[in-house]
Amino acid sequence: MGFAMATSIKETTTWPNDGVSRVPYQIYTDPEIYAAEQEKIFRGPIWSFVGIEREIPEPGDYQTTYIGDTPVIVLRDLEGEVQVIVNRCAHRGNLVCIAKEGKATELTCVYHNWRYDLQGNLKSVAFGKGIGKKGGMPDDFDTAEHGMQRLRTDTFCGLIFATFSDDVAPLPEFLGDEMRENIERVLGRGMVLLGTYSQYMPNNWKLYMENVRDSYHASILHMFQATFRINRLSMKGGIKLSPDGWHHISYSIAETDKEEEQYDSKKLRAVKDGYTLADPTLVKGWREFDCGTTLAIQSIYPNFVVQQISNSLALRLCLPKGPEECELLWWVLGTDEDTDEQRNIRIKQSNMIGPGGVISMEDGVVGGWVQRGTKRDQDKMTIVEMGGRDVAPSAEGRATEVSIRGFWKGYRECMGI
């Protein structure tokens, strides 16, 4: 172990000799690496989550979002097909859709009135024939050659994905059986959007994605459950990785079906004395899944998360906003099958997650502290060897950083370093 990295990554395109158990700090701050990620990861061999189908139910409905830091339009065309189109006029590069959401029968650039259909095909150009036969586009200007950039798009389980890549495997294959199975388990009953919000963080996007994949920090950094003695011991859990290591699921399964009893404080670990919840209904839940899964944090490489924490279901997307900032978008969900009581439980449990979540708010701040702690020492490295130094496909228990190593395996494969 030690510093095997002689010079900067971007010059040598090498990684520390210790493989994915070491990550150079430089990777969290360097603007050139950030730019390379946009090309090699976000426009590389991955499928990006861009929205949920039910948010654009009717032909013409659209939303604007980003893939990496490239603005895109997610829409349903007049034939009812979902399309994802780069939000940029082929003429001068102006944003075509400004609103975050809306309805349109065509896409018209406000700058010079270039008009596109909902598949991004250029239909007409204002003053294309000039004014009074003066000016206008050259005779050989062919509208068919100047459409907006339309991306490969697919959906799974109500989730919309798009990719810049012609080469990446079809979406089902990219996700793999085990990852699809979990998505279907959590989201397959008809998604109902209960809330959305955004958390803006002063750190590189990868620091957040490492945090998501890091099951080992949870009981250490997040003290809410321990403080109020609601940490449940009688659980087994582990890590699942996709065969290539790119995606992960960290899960817990209650070993008995007597979850209600486990909230009885006598059966819970007391870390600090004296604190109990004034309103314990905050952590009241129901056994939603026959398999007994009480927690499943799933990351789809590189920056998408499907969350089940007890009965709190959510999607998260971490968008890069320059080398040292990122924005975490949240979709908090229920299902078509929810009773009123179950809906209310989901609302209460939402207090545990997000930027104001009593359990997880620390995830919004710890990345910024790492960013500040590492900035000056670009030649040093972070240590990722809890639970070994390799990328094993699965692991018992959650005292492991194997899924972080899986992330870096995917990163290195995309970046070619």
């Binding site: 809330g195 003290m223 604190y275 701040v365």
Partner: protein, 168 residues
């Protein structure tokens, strides 16, 4: 209740009631800014709502915002968590309030709106406008004291910078 005592013939809110409601709103802000957070739940009725939600989501009728408390106990738990459990960089708020208006009264429940801005100052001195928006309140009188039955913090931005641990 004060219901029949509060309006004059022209439907105006009695001056003393208006003053008590405005005092409630100001006292609340000072308690938070002065770090007297244990007093914060006491501005609410036992069964209450305290929500933080952005204006776009609020207009759409979303049922989940950034914070969703539905009892005084949940408010107390949040403060205990802030003191004992949560990890964050020390910071303080300064609330700027303006334009309180009482928009209605029905059965002793006053609906009130107040614009706010919160400036957040971090321990190293960084200052920023952390949140701006309006409070949408329902105020009732219990034992002669005005209390929030419901306080919805409708923030103009859907973005929260880093985290929110101190209530707005």
């Amino acid at each position: 209740m004060h219901g029949n005592l509060t309006m004059d013939g022209a439907g105006n809110i009695a001056v003393d009631v208006r003053q008590q409601i405005e005092d409630l709103i100001v006292d609340y802000a000072h308690a938070v800014d002065d770090d007297r957070l244990e007093e914060w739940p006491e501005f609410f009725t036992d069964v209450c709502a305290y929500r933080i939600i952005d204006r776009h989501s609020h207009a759409k009728g979303r049922v989940i915002g950034i914070v969703e408390c539905s009892s005084k106990g949940m408010l107390q738990d949040r403060i205990l968590a802030l003191r004992e459990a949560n990890v964050y960089e020390p910071h303080v708020y300064r609330h700027l309030l303006s334009g309180t208006r009482i928009t209605g009264e029905e059965g002793g429940v006053y609906t009130v709106e107040t614009s706010y801005a919160v400036i957040r100052t971090m321990q190293e001195g960084d200052m920023s406008v952390f949140s701006a928006g309006k409070y949408v309140d329902e105020v009732v009188f219990e034992g002669g004291r005005p209390l929030f039955r419901s306080r919805i913090v409708v923030c103009d931005s859907n973005r929260i910078h880093t985290l929110i641990v101190i209530p707005i």
